[in-house]
Symmetry: C2
Subunit: 338 residues, 2 copies
């Protein structure tokens, strides 16, 4: 029964989230019941959706309960098993939460899945070959439905989701243009991910200025857009959308703090006959197998080299998470726990 | 060669449209060329889309050219024919424009269609059994895709499009709630069109107040919404949309004058996984035959009694059109020309 460390949600944010919203506690892991598995987490995933769960009321799903372990994806190793489906030493991915160990039901309902640590580095099962990658795949292929030769734009392009969107669109023969914050991220998006262009939104004071830059980067307009941010970026992109354009709405980071974040030009939905559609990847489980197959092959073959920012130790999780919400991470944000 | 009267677009509106944007001219109809037909218009249709065409630049389609006859749907009778496809006396619907007569190519490309004046009153071919009716049919069935028992809301509910949306949804077993301006329109929507409820938006100062009224009228939330207006009405409806709701965007009257009209709560697209989609009915010609068949049967059988506001004489067209943009019409706005 190893000693566990856990971050609980201590309070709900009033406006911006802060480190005070989390509390670190120490406990013993409970003895396993029949059918259960004890997993030691190697990596914890930090993702923007967690901010939505910290709020009370209507969001993606039920809010994160106060006083309970913060939810989160984890990849790790089975260290004790009373389940016939898992053996000690198995590498597994699941929703272990912000803690060093988790006790999980080994039955399918427990949501624990074995992964092959020799195929791709273990951490990628929380990124490009995990939930963020499947998110990219679903939004791109099920909502944007891009055709070769069309132009696809993605915001937060250097992030875990955005980078996968761009690579998957690139593989389908699209012109791919990213939007990211800062010259270093834009260089990575172009030079390492192979996007056709990338625009630094920080160089633009407003949507009209960003829209001018998009006009240059997308000389034939924009057919599909994958939105991870909202606000000014979405406004700027909408001004350049072609007729019958599709916008997959995956994230609205700018709005999580409760500030009003209107869409400036909704009449363009009519004028350009756009489809604007929101989605949550966990509601489309049928897409996980084909998505993980394609993404695993892309990463395994080296055609897609996802970038990671790795914080060291569970104690670093709150600060890393707040930095993620401000765009301080570069690629997939992880916390190494072993 | 009868004497014709025509309204030309004299100037583009700066802000609100005014009667000064139109000029009335008199001319002789030209002699028919081989294949042409001379149509005497009985009714001219006035529709919100015309306001968009009066602007320069990006709208639904190409702008209405200055100095040319205002575009518009017409129903009338063939008074002279050099086309084998039409005989004198035939009743026809087409895009004759704001004038007493039109000379039209009798070939299919001319867009002239014979109608049966004994089946439904002639004027309805410009309304419920014409373009507005097909608009309702497409947006409801192709974008909202309502199922029996679901709740459908439609704005401008007493209008030509809105009334058809409600009747078609009612026929499919939906709970149907209208939004209209004023007690008389709301009474018509409930008592004569058979909607389950109708809300007078003029009784509400802002979107939150209107949203409260929608909560009462839609106790199980809103699954589908047909938007003819935009602005505050759309904001209020979005606050009540259920998960996986669909919004068909058909009109944004509030925005045609160039005033900014933001969408207040776009984050709901993500939170509730909404689909928001704009469309123009003329781009979906495949839907016209099934739509006109169903709508003709509903009107012909008396299950749908569309309301009309009929102005007398071509000279009344500009004022009637401006009144339509302000919601002064009650049901389908027409101009009688004979």
């Amino acid at each position: 029964m190893p000693q566990n460390q856990q971050f609980l949600l201590a309070s709900r944010p009033q406006g911006q989230a802060s480190v005070d919203n989390f509390s670190l506690v120490t406990s013993q892991t409970p003895p396993l019941q029949e059918g259960q598995v004890l997993v030691q987490h190697h990596y914890l995933s930090l993702d923007p959706y967690m901010r939505g769960r910290m709020n009370e009321g209507k969001s993606y799903t039920a809010p994160q309960p106060l006083g309970e372990v913060m939810i989160g994806g984890t990849v790790g190793q089975v260290v004790e098993s009373r389940s016939p489906r898992f053996a000690v030493g198995d590498f597994v991915v699941g929703m272990g939460g912000w803690q060093l160990y988790s006790v999980v039901d080994g039955a399918p309902a427990g949501g624990l899945h074995k992964v092959d640590a020799t195929r791709v580095p273990l951490s990628h099962y929380l990124g490009a070959v995990g939930m963020p990658g499947v998110t990219a795949w679903h939004g791109l292929l099920r909502i944007i439905e891009p055709r070769a030769g069309q132009t696809v734009v993605v915001s937060a392009a250097s992030g875990a989701v955005g980078s996968a969107v761009g690579v998957l669109a690139r593989e389908r023969g699209c012109r791919v243009v990213g939007i990211a914050g800062g010259a270093a991220k834009c260089a990575y998006v172009k030079d390492e991910l192979g996007f056709d262009d990338c625009i630094d939104y920080r160089a633009h004071a407003d949507a009209l200025s960003l829209s001018q830059a998009l006009k240059t980067a997308c000389p034939e307009g924009i057919d599909g857009h994958f939105e991870n941010v909202g606000g000014m970026v979405l406004d700027a992109v909408m001004l350049r959308m072609n007729a019958f354009g599709r916008i997959a709405v995956c994230g609205m980071i700018a709005g999580y703090d409760g500030r009003p974040m209107p869409m400036a030009y909704p009449a363009l939905i009519l004028v350009q006959r756009l489809k604007v559609q929101g989605f949550i990847v966990s509601e489309h489980m049928e897409d996980w197998p084909p998505a993980l197959k394609e993404l695993g092959a892309l990463v395994g073959s080296g055609r897609f080299s996802p970038r990671e920012t790795v914080a060291e130790g569970l104690a670093a999780a709150p600060e890393s998470f707040l930095g993620l919400l401000k765009g301080r991470n570069f690629g997939k944000q992880l916390v190494r726990l072993v």
